[in-house]
């Protein structure tokens, strides 16, 4: 299964996953995607896809809404609970409006009705891969930040929290029962380890970590 988390900032080649139980549709999409020099892997069912080896590459998923066993929407949810951020392009035979609304709300890139125009699918794939690359970059940055944050000592973390809360060195020193000079020293360490050039930047970093679920 594809996972988009990685620390590698140099982008590996992207890949397109296709999950459709219908061999005609599957093989046709495979050929179409390869014809624009993109790598592609096809699967006949959601389970087959979930059981496949995860790949650390920019990727997107072309997914049939109607799948035997579990529907495409269920697979979308399953990927979400597994924490896999994979842009999805849905294919449907019906153009079922409520279903497409739901899929789009859950973050689908596009919802195409079969038979679709090749350019519509290829545009959607390129858009999805672009989003995947962006997400990977953000993910990489985030994990880098996390790594920085984790390199802080417990004392430094305490100081960082106080600093971004807007407290002065003097207040912090009083709060932690230490001297202002020591706090200043810790503060310098924090700025250096978190690679923040200014207090404003440190606050932004802290916000990003917070929104990503880390506990600064």
């Amino acid at each position: 299964m594809a996972a988009a988390s990685g620390s590698d900032s140099q982008a590996p080649p992207p890949i397109v996953f296709v999950v459709d139980d219908d061999v005609s549709v599957r093989e046709a999409i495979e050929s179409l995607v390869r014809s624009v020099r993109l790598e592609v892997r096809t699967y006949g069912s959601a389970r087959e896809f979930l059981e496949a080896e995860p790949l650390d590459r920019p990727a997107c998923l072309v997914l049939d809404v109607r799948l035997p066993g579990s529907s495409g929407l269920e697979l979308q949810r399953e990927l979400r609970t597994q924490g896999v951020r994979l842009p999805i392009i849905f294919l449907t035979g019906y153009g079922d409006v409520p279903m497409s609304v739901r899929a789009m709300k859950e973050g689908a890139i596009e919802f195409l009705t079969k038979p679709f125009r090749d350019q519509d699918l290829l545009d959607a794939i390129h858009q999805a891969l672009e989003r995947s690359r962006l997400e990977r970059r953000q993910q990489a940055e985030l994990s880098e930040l996390r790594r920085c944050f984790e390199s802080l000592t417990p004392r430094e973390r305490q100081v960082m929290l106080e600093v971004i809360a807007g407290h002065s060195n003097k207040t912090i020193a009083a709060e932690l029962g230490t001297s202002e000079a020591t706090i200043k020293l810790h503060r310098g360490q924090v700025m250096q380890k978190m690679r923040a050039g200014s207090l404003a930047e440190l606050v932004r970093i802290a916000e990003r970590l917070a929104s990503a679920g880390s506990r600064p």
Binding site: V25, A28, L32, R34, P68, K114, P115
Partner: protein, 405 residues
């Protein structure tokens, strides 16, 4: 015997003719005797005897007696002593008496024989007439019977046509229910065709063009096109309004067709179709379209019955068995709501339905089709746990031509 037509009074001339013939015959006998008297001696009476027999044979008793009278007179006159008159010498009397009695007897016998033959002929003619009459009567009865049979056959044809029409209508309605999934079945290969064609253009537009890839895409276009055509052909087969045709059938092929047709519908309802064919199944005689209709019907009912079933248990099983040397069985089993015991006896009744939008014709038609094939369709159910329909068919339908619509 007079040859005059019955009921017509013979004319005077015709009545006199036998007497004239008698006179002529006796005259001829006299002439003959006159010529050969020296050789005949006392046997001169024989030609007269012959003349009397001939006269009474051809003329009947009257002309016969007339010939006897004439002969007697002539014999008396010309041959009895004294000759030349009608007196008879006493010595000649016995001879003459014997002559008269013989001629009378001969005349009577001859005419009696003649009339016996005549009445025999009459009896025969009568018999022939009666036989002809009887034959004609029999022919009339036969024709009436034949007409009645034709009437009955016509009535049966009308009934069969009506049943065929009803089956066709229910078939069309079934197809109507399946429109969405059939559209999907056609749309899938169509998508394959369109996308492959676009991929093919990409491969050809490349620099250099990749002909192998283009060829592969074209091959898939052919395959997918045929696949879509196959769906249409299956549909057309079910929808065309043709008279039932009995033929040797592979029941497994019929079931596979039905399974393929319903695959998409089953999938959209979250139902898994499981086909468990017997290892070996002899061919049966039947109408393919009608039997496929029965199987489709049973399968669709099963799929519908499982709407409320929890998703993991939604399995429809179709199995075949050879239940006797000359009988095969198709079992369609679902895990749906089942059939209430009170309803079990009524599910095959026309217009009986438990569905909100059902017409109640499906199972009724199915049963009449199966019975027309010399088979049996029955239902069993454990309420809440599903229903099982059993379709039994003879390997060789006993009354193949009786297939109902």
């Amino acid at each position: 015997m007079q040859k005059s037509p019955p009921g017509a009074q013979p004319s005077g001339w015709a009545r006199a003719l036998p007497y004239a013939r008698a006179a002529l015959l006796v005259g001829a006998a006299l002439a003959l005797v006159a010529l050969i008297k020296p050789f005949l001696r006392d046997l001169f009476a024989l030609p007269f005897l012959a003349a009397v027999m001939a006269a009474s044979w051809f003329g009947g008793l009257g002309p016969g007696l007339f010939a006897v009278l004439l002969s007697t007179v002539l014999v008396d006159y010309f041959f009895m002593q004294p000759t030349g008159d009608f007196a008879i010498h006493a010595d000649e009397l016995p001879y003459f008496s014997a002559f008269v009695i013989s001629t009378l007897l001969a005349g009577w016998l001859s005419s009696a024989r003649r009339s016996a033959e005549a009445s025999l002929r009459l009896a025969r003619d009568e018999l022939e007439a009666r036989v002809a009459e009887r034959t004609a009567e029999l022919q009339r009865t036969n024709e009436a019977l034949r007409a009645e049979m034709a009437d009955r056959r016509r009535a049966q044809d009308v009934l069969r046509a009506a049943q065929a029409q009803l089956a066709h209508v229910t078939r069309v309605m079934t197809m109507g229910e399946l429109v969405a999934s059939i559209a999907h079945e056609i749309n899938q290969p169509l998508t394959g065709v369109v996308t492959n064609a676009e991929a093919c253009l990409h491969w050809l537009d490349g620099d250099p063009p990749d002909l192998d890839e283009a060829r592969g895409a074209l091959r898939r276009i052919v395959r997918d096109g045929n696949r879509a055509g196959g769906v249409i052909a299956r549909l057309r087969g079910l929808l065309k309004q043709a008279d039932p045709q009995m033929a040797l059938l592979d029941l497994h092929a019929v079931i596979r067709d039905a399974v393929e047709l319903l695959q998409s519908e089953a999938q959209s309802q979250g139902v898994a179709l499981r086909f468990e064919p017997a290892a070996e199944l002899p061919p049966i005689t039947g109408d393919r379209v009608q039997l496929e209709q029965v199987i489709l019907n049973l399968m669709l009912n099963g799929i519908e019955a499982m709407r409320e079933t929890e998703p993991s248990r939604r399995v429809l099983t179709i199995a075949t068995q050879r239940c006797a040397p000359d009988r095969v069985r198709v079992v369609v089993e679902d895990a749906g709501v089942g059939i209430a015991p009170a309803d079990l006896g009524r599910v095959f009744d026309a217009f009986f339905t438990t569905k909100a939008d059902g017409l109640g014709m499906g199972l009724s038609i199915s049963r009449s089709i199966v019975e027309a094939h010399g088979g049996r369709l029955s239902a069993a159910s454990a309420p809440g746990r599903g229903a099982t329909f059993q379709l039994e068919l003879p390997v060789l339908a006993e009354q193949g031509s009786r297939a109902a619509g």
